[in-house]
């Protein structure tokens, strides 16, 4: 009962938040320099005034701003995100075609970062001053601070060009025309480098957080009790300590979903991954306002959903939250 109330309230806030994001984005995007009609004309190598006026008329860019916003909001309520200025196709179709690859990439990278990061953090916490711990700290720092497009290109040069282990770009090899299982394997093959590139930035933070929180927990009374009971180190570490130490990791994962999406913009561009990030990047360069707005709408929706899920996960992992407001 209580859960439904909480969920209902959360959903209401989420909807209000998304509406605010839409209006803000709509206005912000028009503050950016660059006129969509001129950009389209520029892509064509120049055009006459009549053609430019024609483009403006076709896409309703000649209407006053508040009118454009009203029309946009009204259409949005019926699930219509408008048409792309670049492709002339419904933005919804463009986004739906790109959603799958992005979710696949981000979720893989996230899983990789969270599991591998926590695991490394736990290992490091066992002997915080040891060589291994220091090595992880250094690697984490490098992974965190290297720009993602640089990491991407370096990984490509080493693991695709010099040592031809992985393909260079795209989500599958179109020359093969594979289907079914062969296609799945091909996609997996293409997924490894981009997922690793995206994961590596976040891996650093997870390993640092889980190392720190593990160190905290390992000093707690109940861990000493567990050890005193004569439980094996493995059980103490993974069953008693980790469960509590993982809470900050989950918080971080929820918070970072948004930055993961923005990281995907660059990773998808470097690896030519056909996701929302790549579409976002190109749409900005093209001043394709409806597409940018649609992507931002979806992205904010995804972040809100991720936060909701984080809350729910919390309740599952931590019984204290389930029983009351303490």
């Amino acid at each position: 009962m209580q859960l439904t109330i909480i969920l209902g309230r959360r959903l209401f806030y989420a909807a209000a938040l998304i509406a605010a994001v839409v209006v803000l984005n709509f206005l912000l995007i028009r503050l950016a320099p660059g006129d969509p009609a001129l950009t389209i004309a520029g892509e064509m190598g120049g055009a006459t005034e009549e053609i430019i006026e024609d483009i403006r008329r076709t896409y309703g860019l000649d209407e006053p701003l508040h009118h454009q916003l009203l029309v946009y909001m009204k259409r949005m309520l019926s699930g219509d995100l408008g048409d792309s200025l670049f492709f002339n196709t419904p933005v919804m179709d463009l986004i739906l075609a790109r959603l799958g690859p992005t979710v696949l990439l981000v979720m893989t990278a996230m899983t990789l970062a969270v599991t591998l990061g926590s695991f490394l953090g736990v290992l490091a916490a066992r002997n915080p001053e040891g060589l291994f711990s220091n090595l992880i700290t250094v690697l984490s720092l490098v992974g965190y601070s290297a720009p993602v497009f640089w990491t991407g290109i370096m990984l490509l040069i080493v693991f695709s060009a010099m040592i031809p282990l992985f393909p260079l770009s795209g989500m599958y090899d179109v020359r093969l025309g594979a289907t079914g299982l062969a296609l799945a394997v091909d996609v997996l093959h293409h997924l490894i480098l981009p997922a690793f590139t995206l994961g590596i930035i976040f891996l650093a933070q997870y390993s640092r957080i889980s190392r720190a929180s593990m160190l905290d927990v390992l000093g707690a009374d109940y861990v000493r009790t567990a050890r005193a009971k004569g439980l094996s180190e493995r059980v103490v570490l993974y069953k008693h300590a980790l469960r509590n130490a993982v809470l900050p990791v989950v918080t971080l994962a929820g918070l970072q979903f948004g930055s993961m999406l923005s990281g995907a913009v660059l990773v998808e561009t470097v690896y030519n991954w056909p996701g929302l990030g790549q579409l976002a990047f190109e749409s900005i360069l093209r001043r394709d306002h409806p597409t940018i707005l649609g992507i931002l709408f979806f992205a904010s929706g995804m972040v809100v959903v991720a936060n909701l899920l984080t809350d729910l996960t919390y309740r599952i992992i931590d019984p204290r939250i389930r029983t009351g407001r303490s």
């Binding site: 660059g34 064509m44 290109i153």
Partner: protein, 529 residues
């Protein structure tokens, strides 16, 4: 020789030849195989009748045929038109179409489609008016004869009939009353060319398949063309080295990287072709405001630039010095104009004369130079070179690079700049590519018009006369006068002519290297592997 006569002669000579002679490889072409083409820019749609530019042009000229195709010397050859005649007064062109030609859906290609295509291009293409305003009507006396009737002489007509500029599109598909610019079939067109549309995954690839029913017997050689979009230039080059891409036109390569690429035994790097685009780089002055409203200040900037140094030292000798508004391969190009060869003393004297005296720090004026980021060698490095040269004559330049193309384009097209680096295409005829930059009535708030605000009635008259003069020698003389005038008035100062770089693997035979480069039918390309 008059252009009318030359066209008539070519028509007779080439009657028997179906297509272009291909002298590059004597080996027997091997049929089959898939050519993977690397592309940097995403494509808006696949119909070049209503969209200009290379992204649409490369797939578009595979999907659609034109009346003629043009070789590496601007000479038109038969394509969908097997022959043609030009009337004595040059006012009507009669084209005889190939009789067995069919669209990809099996419908025959008729003169009605030709008339429809021309009307569609005229009304919707960014250069439709420049190309076909002179056309009065297209008569279709029978399904295989199309007569283009002009209302005034139009020397650029034949060049405007290349597949890129006037693709022959099916009336029964595009003539259904929907808006041509946003027609849904632009994304999956039914065409008339050597390759058929198969698939387009946005941001990923376009797949074209061999048209088995192509009207030239035995062509094309390739089974399939895959155009693969790779946004990152460095990744595209890696893909080429690895063999994931075979052919990379408009390769975004730094000039200094070319020698390194040439060392790779699997690769060829070419700067041939694309004369019909004729890209030329220049410094553009906003002539409305001080200090560049004064021709002496503009001339001082020109005198500060050492083109030979730029081309030879900065750019490794890849581009060519260029002083003329005409691309060096254009038949109208000539060297007879004021070149402003580097002379710093002269520059300083001109600035003195214009009243810009140096202060105690030696600074005469502070100006801002905006430069776009789409040509890193010529325009970005060029801007930096210009800053250091102008400092020597007391002009303190602040460099400013707007965030991306749309930002820069908006700034220039709203005339909100002092001077900028710029690049325009000549296109196959000055009527399309050059006039727009200089005509008084084209001072517009749009990119690649007369944004500098230049107006000289004598120049206007020369251009208008040249635009309707059929006799080649007379026309060339008019353009010669024109370029003398503008090199004196100096609304723009041309700095170099930069070729497009094509990189391809050794296995690619007969790569397209006509004046249209990769924007020509690739029916003669084959793979040796």
């Amino acid at each position: 020789m008059s252009i009318v006569r030359s066209i008539a002669r070519i028509a007779i000579v080439s009657l028997a030849i179906a297509g272009l002679a291909s002298p590059v490889h004597a080996a027997e072409p091997k049929p089959g195989g898939t050519l993977v083409v690397g592309a940097g820019a995403g494509v808006r749609h696949l119909n070049p009748a209503v969209q200009s530019g290379g992204a649409t042009g490369v797939p578009g000229t595979q999907i659609f045929a034109g009346l003629v195709r043009v070789d590496d010397k601007f000479v038109p050859h038969p394509y969908l038109a097997k022959s043609w005649e030009v009337s004595g007064d040059g006012m009507s062109y009669t084209f005889h179409l190939v009789e067995n030609a069919r669209f990809h859906d099996g419908e025959p290609i008729t003169s009605k489609d030709v008339a429809f295509s021309l009307a569609t291009v005229k009304a919707n293409h960014p250069f439709g008016i420049a190309m076909f305003d002179a056309v009065d009507r297209v008569d279709t006396p029978d399904p295989h004869t199309a007569v283009i009737r002009l209302k005034k002489p139009h020397p650029a007509l034949m060049q405007a009939l290349a597949p890129l500029l006037m693709p022959v599109i099916p009336e029964h598909v595009f003539g259904d009353g929907q808006e041509p610019k946003t027609h849904p079939m632009n994304a999956m067109p039914i065409g008339s060319g050597p390759f058929k549309y198969k698939e387009w995954v946005k941001g990923q690839h376009v797949i074209l398949e061999r048209n088995d029913d192509f009207f030239i017997e035995g062509r094309p050689y390739l089974d399939r063309i895959i155009i693969k979009f790779i946004k990152e230039a460095s990744v595209a080059l890696l893909a080429l080295e690895k063999g994931e891409v075979d052919y990379y036109p408009f390769a975004r390569v730094r000039f200094r990287d070319i020698p390194k690429m040439e060392e790779n035994p699997d690769l060829n790097v070419s700067t041939r072709g694309y004369e019909a685009l004729g890209p030329i780089n220049y410094v553009e002055f906003n002539m409305r405001n001080a200090p560049f409203d004064d021709v002496r200040v503009r001339a001082a900037v020109a005198y500060a630039i050492d083109q030979d140094f730029m081309v030879g030292k900065l750019h490794g000798g890849v581009p060519h010095p260029g002083y003329s508004p005409f691309y060096r391969a254009s038949p109208f190009h000539s060297d007879e104009l004021n070149k402003y060869e580097v002379d710093l003393e002269r520059a300083a004297a001109l600035l003195d004369e214009a009243g810009y005296k140096p202060d105690e720090d030696g600074v005469r004026m502070k100006v801002t130079l905006d430069y776009p980021t789409f040509h890193i060698d010529s325009l970005t490095n060029g801007a930096n070179y210009l800053k250091s040269q102008l400092k020597k004559v007391g002009i303190d330049v602040e460099l400013r690079a707007p965030a991306d193309f749309p930002s820069w384009a908006q700034q220039i097209s709203s005339w909100d700049y002092q001077f900028t680096m710029n690049n325009h295409w000549n296109y196959p005829d000055p009527v399309i590519g050059v006039h727009r930059i200089y005509l008084c009535d084209n001072i517009k708030k749009q990119i690649w018009s007369n944004t500098q605000g230049y107006c000289n009635e004598e120049v206007d008259a020369l251009l208008k006369e040249a635009g309707r003069t059929l006799d080649f020698d007379k026309r060339k003389a008019l353009y010669g006068d024109f370029q003398l005038h503008v090199s004196r008035d100096l609304p723009l100062y041309y700095i170099n002519q930069e070729p497009y770089v094509t990189a391809y693997r050794n296995s690619v035979m007969n790569p397209p290297e006509t004046v249209w480069g990769a924007m020509q039918p690739m029916d003669q390309v084959w793979l040796d592997r």
